[in-house]
Amino acid sequence: MNKLLSPDKSTVLFLGNEAIARGALEAGLAVATGYPGTPSSEVIESLAGVAARRNLYVEWSVNEKVALEVAAAASFSGLRAMAVMKQNGVNVASDFLLHLIASGTRGGLVLVSCEDPGALSSVNEGESRYFARMLEMPLLEPADFQEAKDLTKWAFELSEEIRNVVMLRSVTRMSHASGNVVCAKLPTKSRRAKFEYDGPVMDSQTGPMISTPVVAKHRLHQEKLKTVEALFEKSPFNRYSGPAKPKLLVVTSSVCFLYVREALSMLGLERDVGILKLATTWPLPPRLLERNLQRAEKILVVEEVLPFLEENVKVLASAMAGRIGVKTFFGKYDGTLPAAGELNPDIVARAIGGIMKVKPKTPPASYLAEVKKAAALIPAREQTFCAGCPHRASFWNIRRAIALDGREGFVCGDIGCYSMAALSPATGYNTMPTLHSMGSGTGLAGGFAKLSAFGLDKPVMAVCGDSTFYHAVIPALINAQHNRADITFIVLDNAGTAMTGFQPHPGLPVSALKETVPAVDIACVCRGIGAKVAVADPFDIDGTSKILTDYLAEKGSVKVLILRQACALSPEKKGKKTFNVRVNEELCLGDACGCNRLCTRVFRCPALTWDSARKKAVVDEVICAGCGVCVSICPQNAIVKAQGNM
């Protein structure tokens, strides 16, 4: 049995994301959409796995804005729907979101944002909580796995109560952590879709779904927020625990609640410090805050990343200062806690310990001295492309073409596994100096290419992954072509969204529900806008570098090279080797070879290692994926391949 469908009252170990998915099922979800992005992807993935049995429509949308639009259509038709994305996905969806909130919704509509404080798997630690305030949207933040499920379910009810979108925010340490969850009943009835639109314009339930008349609808929405506030006042998800009159009151939400509880037990301060755990973080319920802020003179706000909660609490506290007195606040503004990076129990314990003048316990000094000695022996472990990764080969080709061309060409980067080429110079061979948001590499490249009149005369390249292409690259590519920007645009097509776990995208003939669907061909799209297109296999080093070198020399506008080779971890490749590769020790000259150890110092596949005793390269057969690329880079032909098991 799929554990997402576990029976009523059973206790199951769920990922935070699975708990969110289960909560949505318990609420009677009909439509779920999303764009893959760590740490959010498992919500949609797990729902896709039960779609047939629960009669759901689940889709991986082309990007987050479209995901929200598809979900909204379901809501307009009276169904319960959810759109799921990572933090910066909310930025992409935000333009529609602004107008959606203005028009209102019908069936419960929940926007799930899974955020990544500390950027564990992101190139930003953006905050979407500010959208809640800026766009006036109720915000819920679960503090444990049970709550992740229960709050999600409640979010749908709340959304229907106020007929508008509700945002649920999780973070990596919740979405990708797991814990016990007690399940409740799954509904047996499902709703029928019905879309009405001939009622009065101000009636969001029967009238047209539009944001005008703007000011009148805006006012109406603000009135509804008063209902939200009233419901939040009574919400059982907001809880105080601790002594009636604590020496310090900690106000917190999300997984930070678990850090605070841990910190108090580390410091032995459970009887001195109280915790106000809030699950409804925008709009804050003022009376609940008033009752609790009264408890203590000193207040610490613990949250990730920016001081969103702290600001909102302070605004309320200043308005009620006449009744509750003037408080001393600790948090991000006074530097008690850092306003960048994620938190953990140790950081929180130091913050609380600093205020309460208690030090967390550490092992004896002699132990710490030994730890220090051992630490000096531990080499860093850099992230890198997997053994057999097509991206390593692609960047090797790019590096070669740039060197042959001789004009210091460079690559504008984009979002995916290949982002690593920018994060570590050794991985991208120093070719990729820019990295921003989805699709931005191509936009930037188009801009750089227009600067030759100002003296910037270098060949400009952009890379993007297959999934990224559809998500946000197409407008930038059209822009470059139309404005005659001379760029070499390289699609690193590894047949899936590798970084987040092989979700399908519009380029593949299969959907999230494993149905056969039309594949949108990247080459055709590029040809359609008038660009020159070639397709190659990055593992064919000679063929690929030749095309690239020619492209760099050629004047024109957009030249497209699609490099096609499946990800080394893709289900069809995993565990299989195209070639059995080994080093012929007689031919390997080791340090004596004039190549400066091209194989192990420069190419850097984790499976191609160096035997420092014998001074020869050696292939680690456990790690080697058998791609055979290293065979073509060794100038001595010392690396040899035989047919493998594929």
């Binding site: 952590a177 016990n180 092992p363 051992a374 080499p379 850099e382 992230q383 997997c386 596994c417 192990t600």
Partner: protein, 213 residues
């Protein structure tokens, strides 16, 4: 050998290098313990951190309460390492004089070591550091056992078998068999049981752990 039945929270860290089957191992352990009535919290990161980098799962086994998915510094009770260097790395942040370590012997060399910029400590040095930084430590050739059984990734199951034999965590062979039945296809079961038993046997052979206080 200590038998631990957690009356208080037991903190286990499973560590290794991306791609070694860390996540799967932590799920299997947690699944058994949830069925045994414990409140388990697993904290892990996956995504980019998997690409050849160090990976860690924090497993917290409590009689009654959800825990922070991140174990506090110096707070590990047990460290299980699919790669020996990673055991050392984890000891440097979460170690304490009472911690127990179970480690695979097979190194996965960081890129910096392959290029010759960094050094990798010898097996002897790693063992010496374990004996200085842990109350007990076991080192077994789990990857070799996996390779012998036909797939190096089975090393994670070998390690789980070994962990069962150390008695550091409240689970046994029967619970393991029941757990893997939930997720693995039937034709994979006997191979995984073999890997599990291999791990147990390795701990029995290593009759005296490096340092067993």
């Amino acid at each position: 050998m200590k038998k631990r039945k957690p009356a208080k929270t037991l903190n286990l860290i499973l560590t290794g290098v991306g791609g070694q089957g860390n996540v799967m191992a932590s799920r299997v352990l947690a699944g058994m313990l949830v069925d045994a009535g414990y409140v388990v919290t697993i904290g892990e990161t996956f995504g980019m951190s998997q690409r050849g980098g160090s990976v860690m799962s924090h497993l917290r086994v409590s009689p009654d309460e959800v825990k922070s998915p991140q174990i506090p510094a110096w707070g590990a009770d047990v460290i299980v390492a699919l790669e020996p260097l990673e055991a050392l790395r984890v000891l440097g942040v979460y170690g304490n004089p009472d911690v127990c370590v179970l480690s695979n012997t097979r190194p996965v060399y960081p890129i910096g070591v392959i290029t010759g910029e960094l050094g990798y400590p010898s097996r002897e040095i790693i063992m010496e550091k374990f004996s200085l930084l842990a109350a007990s430590a076991w080192m077994i050739d789990a990857t070799d056992a996996g390779v012998r059984l036909g797939n190096p990734v089975l090393s994670n199951i070998v390690m789980i078998g070994a962990l069962a034999e150390t008695g550091l965590l409240p689970f046994n062979r029967g619970m393991f068999a029941k757990e893997i039945k939930k997720t693995l296809p039937p034709d994979k079961l006997s191979l995984n049981m073999k890997a599990f038993d291999e791990g147990r046997a390795m701990i029995r052979q290593e009759s005296v752990a490096l340092k067993n206080l």
